[in-house]
Amino acid sequence: MKLSIERAALLKAVSQAQSVVERRNTIPILANVLIEAEGADASFRATDLDIEVVDKAPAQVERAGATTVSATTLHEIVRKLPDGALVTLTADSATGRLTVEAGRSNFSLATLPKEDFPVMASSEYASNFTAPAPVLRRLFDKSKFAISTEETRYYLNGVYMHVADGDGGKTLRCVATDGHRLARIDAPMPEGAGDMPGVIVPRKTVGELRKLLDDDDLKVAVSVSETKIRFATPNITLTSKVIDGTFPDYSRVIPQGNTRKMEVDASDFARAVDRVATVSSERSRAVKLQLDEDRLVLSVNAPDSGAAEEELAVAYGDERLEIGFNAKYLLEIASQVDRENAVFLFNSSGDPTLMREGNDTSAVYVVMPMRV
């Protein structure tokens, strides 16, 4: 195999590959990226056996072929090469080495046979549809903060993507929760998504997927089966197993009868929460919200380290209310709001609180209060 490729294109492909590769590996081949050269393309494939990413980049292929080489080493080399360099990769089957040449730099890397590289079995997909990158970006960006890291409830370690009945008919919905907060994000149903089985997309896949979605004009082809999900752009294909488990019935968690409504500028609110939380060093810092007639007082009282209080003008017309939350959770949901005011709907100090942006019900957040 011999090919030449622009440093920028190579860096993009290799960095995607090395982020899929697990840092600690017991199977040596899984630390490698499979490079295949054919026609006018070079493809770079990496896997951790749960996720597989294939990145295609235009290249001048002198001699078709394939080999595998350490993803991190290749990434480090390419990263350190000067911008604009043309990189030549040559696999020598006699020595079992891959030569990387750019300008006057020359590297020779150990390889492993391409036959040893595990290729993810292809799957029958029950549903295929395309969705604009910004739509997918919003679905996952706004829900991923609520993904649980708890090992015991492994079925919460991802985003539940499924078809649901929304306010205006069928909707493509992403839900994530860790039992303390929940995010429910809706998007218009793409054509052909109606038969999609509900799947739990693992946390790592959500992170990898995000790298595909930066281009606003891009359409992403999504294929879903009971066990796998695939996202494909013209250059990159990301295939992932989904979490084998049942996502809990989240609908009963979302409060319907919360009537005490507070409206507040989300960024003012977030900044105030952040400021008062400074005095507490505890892991779960509790912020107390005292609401009374268009007035919100945020306070933190940490007996060991100090106390803080801040007053904020809000729109609130219900009876007095005192309720406590984990500061981190408040900050995270407040930072999801980007256009309008944040609207909080409370019931009592012990019941879950609902937050949304203005009157938009396509993104709804629920957070559990804590005793203060």
Partner: protein
């Protein structure tokens, strides 16, 4: 050379008997009044408490321990004459001393006696470092002016008070650091009072075996023997660097200990690192119902201790020992720290389910680590588990009932398994 009488605490110049009361129990040592680090170790503590509470046992051999598979936790001095030692398997102990009275430990009674002793020690110094219920280090440095007597006198008074007021005896080791004080307290038990002074430290240690070092067990001893180190004299011949190269960071500690040097302070507040509990079964079992019952009772005990100490743990650990003594342990990190038996049990149970095929087991243990103050414990409410908050409230209510009416006032059916 100063001397004191252990019976009447009189101070005098050395004589074979106390000039005041005629007792032969005299301690004399050139540095007696200048040393201030002490180790107090009760004599056959559990057995002594039992004998005190039941005088009929006074002249009988008494062994504290439990179950057919259990081990001796304490043997009284009568049983020790027959060769019974602590940590000896019970069947072996009973073979040596068939007429011994075996008593299951009454931890509550020992805890109470321990607290009474600690209260007495606290009148002498705040710098007390308990090692267990029946032994503690005391740093009496700087207390002479306050109490109007040197540490040795205060310690002799402490032992006398323990005997007079609590009916319990103990031994004292007095030296210039913790390492030597602990060795000293063991030198002439029971009712001992041993002193290791600065001047004699080297000579004292020379021919002593290195297994005297706290923390050097069977495997440590093997490692040292393999390096040709049997005694402290052998150890002292080694270069400091060579010891570190061979034994790692422990090597440095060994180098200092070889010279009788130990710079650890007597610290009253050793932060607790974990809370755990374990049980050895009478018979190996793989019955999940039985294991489950044990798991729940242990979760309760762990939770009780955590609550008593106002602590909460973020990592739940399950420990199992298989019939062939191979241990296995499983752990889960929680979202936030807990001190609730319900949460500990519910977290450990799936771990048990995951390991149950490897049974039968001879031991099960459960505990929490990564401890935080209880104020750091997370909220008990869970969106997806509406029952969690109710169960937490029920547990707190049960705790209050137990506090008023006793530990057995309210239990779960699960605890009877």
């Amino acid at each position: 050379m100063p001397a004191i009488c252990k019976d009447c605490i009189a101070q005098f110049d050395p004589a074979p008997r106390c000039p005041g009361c005629g007792s032969p129990r005299v301690v004399a040592h050139p540095e007696l009044f200048s040393l201030s680090i002490a180790h107090m170790d009760c004599d056959a503590f559990y057995a002594s408490v039992e004998k005190r509470d039941n005088p009929a046992l006074r002249d009988k051999p008494v062994i504290i321990g439990g179950g057919r598979r259990g081990v001796v936790s304490t043997a009284c001095y009568i049983a020790r004459i027959r060769g019974v030692r602590s940590a000896m398997p019970m069947f072996k102990a009973l073979a040596l001393c068939p007429e011994a009275v075996v008593i299951a430990p009454r931890m509550a009674a020992y805890g109470e006696a321990s607290r009474a002793i600690k209260a007495m020690m606290q009148t002498l110094t705040p710098d007390i470092e308990p090692l267990s219920l029946d032994e503690a280090f005391l740093d009496l440095n700087g207390t002479q002016r306050l109490h109007g007597a040197p540490p040795a006198v205060l310690l002799a008074r402490l032992i006398k008070r323990m005997k007079d007021e609590l009916g319990l005896t103990g031994s004292i080791g007095l030296s210039h650091n913790k390492f030597l004080a602990k060795i000293a307290s063991d030198l002439d038990k029971p009712r001992g009072f041993s002193v290791i002074g600065q001047a004699e430290t080297q000579a004292f240690l020379n021919d002593k075996p290195v297994r005297m070092i706290w923390g050097v067990g069977a495997s440590g001893q093997n490692a040292l023997n393999a390096a040709g180190i049997q005694t402290f004299a052998d150890l002292r011949r080694w270069d400091r660097k060579d010891l570190i190269n061979r034994f790692g960071p422990q090597g440095d500690r060994l180098w200092h200990l070889a010279r009788g040097e130990d710079y650890r302070k007597v610290s009253a507040h050793m932060p607790m690192k974990s809370i755990s509990n374990e049980t050895t079964f009478d018979q190996d079992t793989s019955d999940i119902e039985t294991l489950d019952g044990h798991l729940w009772r242990m979760a309760l005990k762990v939770a009780d201790r955590a609550k008593a100490k106002s602590l909460a743990g973020r990592v739940v650990v399950l420990k199992l020992k298989r019939a062939n003594h191979a241990g296995l342990s499983r752990r889960t990190t929680l979202h936030s720290a807990t001190q609730l038996a319900d949460t500990i049990y519910r977290t450990a149970r799936p771990l048990l389910d995951g390991a149950k095929d490897q049974g039968p087991f001879r031991l099960i243990g459960c505990g929490i680590t990564d401890l935080h103050p209880e104020s750091h414990a997370g909220h008990e409410a869970d969106l997806l588990d509406p029952g969690a908050e109710k169960r937490a409230k029920a547990e707190r209510a049960a705790d209050q009932i137990k506090a008023r009416f006793g530990q057995d006032a309210i239990i779960k059916g699960r605890a009877l398994r």
